[in-house]
């Protein structure tokens, strides 16, 4: 059923888009690729799973718990792995990348110690509810995922464009020093950015748990690498690019699995970034970047 595959693809793509937004926010402001984002996302999924299956609370509380814990992790990440590197003279531009890789390894292995290596079931109360729209079956879970993702993306766009804090964030992204001279508390903005990005990762974690019904400690790596692929594909630091890239990747993966070979599904993202980087290094929607202009 092509229409059903399309719906599956859009659901998956909207989750990818939320993950990619977390990367793109941090990159836009700090010019840093936060390699720990995938693992923070994975912790969000685990917190949500524990709240739903062990405490038997509602999905809303699971979202709240995931957001709170991943926001706290984002704060700690910024405070201990990113801020000490800032303003160090002669620091390599690769230093923050390596530092966040370090955090990602720590988190993945802490999750391994806490939760083990196997899959954990993520039960949602309405997993089996579905409706038939003509010949097409739509699951309620898919509708909820799509609605939450759209709300989140719309909210973020509005916040970035209309509020004072959003404007300060965009100013900081444009030029950190100038923004500081204009009276923007850049350190606070940076912390807020990492915290918001991480919280979005937490939401995405719960969404993935709802969509796939199982989670494990490896999912951060898999999803993180795809999120990276999407922001390169869509253009680094571009919010619209992250959304479009997420949808394109979700759709193409679903269609390749449905009509092609499922084994190569995980390679699509990387083939796509390698091709995009070679043809249009700034990404489909990105501005030309100083590091890639050669």
């Amino acid at each position: 059923m092509f229409a059903e595959q399309l719906i599956n693809g859009i659901t998956l793509g909207s989750i990818y888009a939320v993950v990619a937004l977390g990367y793109t926010l941090v990159f836009g402001v700090l010019d840093i690729i936060n390699m720990a984002h995938g693992e923070i996302f994975m912790f969000g999924a685990f917190v949500g799973m524990l709240i739903v299956t062990k405490v038997h609370s509602s999905l809303g509380i699971a979202f709240a718990g995931a957001i709170a814990s991943t926001a706290a992790m984002g704060y700690l990440l910024e405070r201990f792995a990113l801020r000490p590197l800032r303003g160090k003279s002669g620091g390599s531009p690769l230093a923050p990348l390596i530092s966040t890789i370090g955090v990602s390894i720590i988190l993945e292995n802490v999750a391994h110690k806490l939760f083990g290596a196997g899959n954990h079931l993520f039960e949602t109360p309405f997993a089996e509810i579905r409706f038939d729209v003509g010949p097409v079956t739509v699951y309620l879970v898919q509708v909820v995922i799509l609605a939450i993702s759209i709300l989140l993306m719309a909210g973020l766009s509005l916040w970035l464009r209309k509020t004072r804090a959003g404007k300060a964030l965009r100013a900081t992204a444009e030029n950190l020093e100038t923004a500081a001279l204009m009276g923007v508390a850049t350190n606070r903005i940076i912390t807020a950015t990492v915290v918001i990005a991480s919280a979005m990762g937490g939401v995405a974690g719960v969404l993935v748990g709802m969509a796939f019904n199982y989670i494990n400690n490896q999912m951060g790596l898999a999803m993180g690498l795809k999120g990276l692929a999407i922001i390169i594909f869509g253009g680094m630091g571009s919010v619209g690019g992250a959304m479009a890239g997420g949808l394109i990747l979700g759709l193409s993966e679903t269609l390749v699995v449905a009509y092609g070979s499922s084994g190569y599904r995980d390679a699509i993202a990387f083939v796509a970034i390698i091709v995009v980087l070679l043809i249009k290094p700034q990404g489909l929607f990105g501005q030309a970047l100083p590091g890639t202009e050669r």
Binding site: I33, F80, A81, P84, L85, K88, G91, S92, P93, L94, A95, P96, L97, I98, S99, I101, G102, V103, S104, I105, I106, L107, E108, N109, V110, K113, L221, L225, L228, A229, I232, S261, G263, Y264, D266, A267, A269, F270, V271, I273, I274, L277, L278, P281, G291, T292, R294
Partner: protein, 315 residues
């Protein structure tokens, strides 16, 4: 037996140290031009699989297999390097990370050639092959007072030591050659290097393919030391492990990654309880090093002090 102290297990650990040292050098060579490649696990797997497939399936002699594996990895390094070096910094890191993942997915799915996720077993093992050849020539390890398994591990260790030493000496000499100076100039300031007439693209691709070739060599040696390879040996975690060697040891001098690879391979073996937490410690090390000593444990001023020389001006 006079050589009872010669423990095959210790020799095996020593062999893994040597393979990791080659991997450390491989990431150093690309870093020497200021390029961070996370694709070395991918190149390593190309070397390992090429040699494994040729020797197990097609009866190619082991030396020819190892050479072809390294060369094929080096050639893929050129093919990936030419387009990828249009990128710099984090873009290059992610593109090469993507390359490594694509290679791994291909090896998992190309089952007729690679055995899929199970991998390739019963690859000829260096030590055993040498023992068999020597037995045919009428030699027995007992005449040296060695047991068979001692002799096998010792042979692997000796081959790897010679190879690793040759690699280190080659790249130490390279550092003071025209090529090494060009690398250093590109690392310091690419635009300035280009302005002084250095063909930056040529040297960057050269460094990239040298790193790829070394990774391939390490992979091929790994395949013939363990006699088993699978895609699980060449994941993202391997790429990060190689990176940690250079970051911890230091990436401004060749001896940095060599030290890093040795230290980080020995510690988990000496302190067994550390092994459980090895990856957590790696992660913590990466963060702490970036915060407190981004240049790594070993840097040129430290080497100058150790060798009693006056620190060079300008450091």
């Amino acid at each position: 037996m006079p050589f009872d102290w010669l423990n095959p297990y210790h020799l095996q650990v020593a062999s893994f140290i040597l393979i990791n040292v080659i991997l450390g050098v491989s990431i150093y060579v690309t870093l020497a031009t200021g390029q961070l490649s996370l694709g070395n696990a991918g190149f390593m797997s190309i070397g390992a699989y090429t040699s494994a497939i040729l020797t197990t399936g097609h009866g190619v002699p082991m030396v020819a297999g190892i050479v072809s594996g390294s060369l094929l990895a080096g050639v893929s390094g050129i093919l990936v390097g030419i387009p990828a070096l249009r990128l710099s910094g984090v873009y290059l890191a992610i593109a090469t990370l993507g390359f490594g993942e694509v290679v791994r997915v291909v090896f998992i799915n190309w089952e007729s050639l690679t055995g899929g996720a199970v991998g390739i077993a019963a690859i000829p093992q260096m030590g055993r092959e040498i023992l068999a050849a020597l037995r045919d020539a009428g030699f027995s390890p007992e005449s040296l007072g060695l047991q068979n398994n001692q002799f096998i591990s010792l042979a692997v260790f000796v081959i790897l030591s010679v190879t690793t030493l040759a690699v280190i000496l080659f790249f130490l000499r390279l550092a003071n050659s025209r090529v090494g100076r060009a690398y250093g100039a590109i690392r310091m300031d690419e635009a300035a290097a280009e302005a002084t007439g250095i063909d930056t693209t040529y040297y960057k691709v050269l460094a990239f393919s040298q790193g790829a070739l070394l990774s391939g060599l390490a992979g091929a040696l790994y395949a013939h030391a363990t006699s088993y390879v699978s895609p699980a040996d060449f994941t993202y975690h391997r790429a990060v492990e190689i990176l940690v060697f250079a970051v911890f040891g230091g990436s401004e001098h060749l001896l940095g990654p060599v030290f890093g690879a040795m230290f980080l391979t020995v510690i988990p073996e000496v302190l067994r309880f550390v092994n459980d937490y090895r990856h957590i410690i790696y992660g913590t090390l990466l963060v702490l090093m970036m915060v407190f000593r981004p240049q790594g444990v070993i840097d040129p001023p430290l080497l100058d002090r150790l060798s009693g020389r006056e620190p060079a001006e300008g450091h």
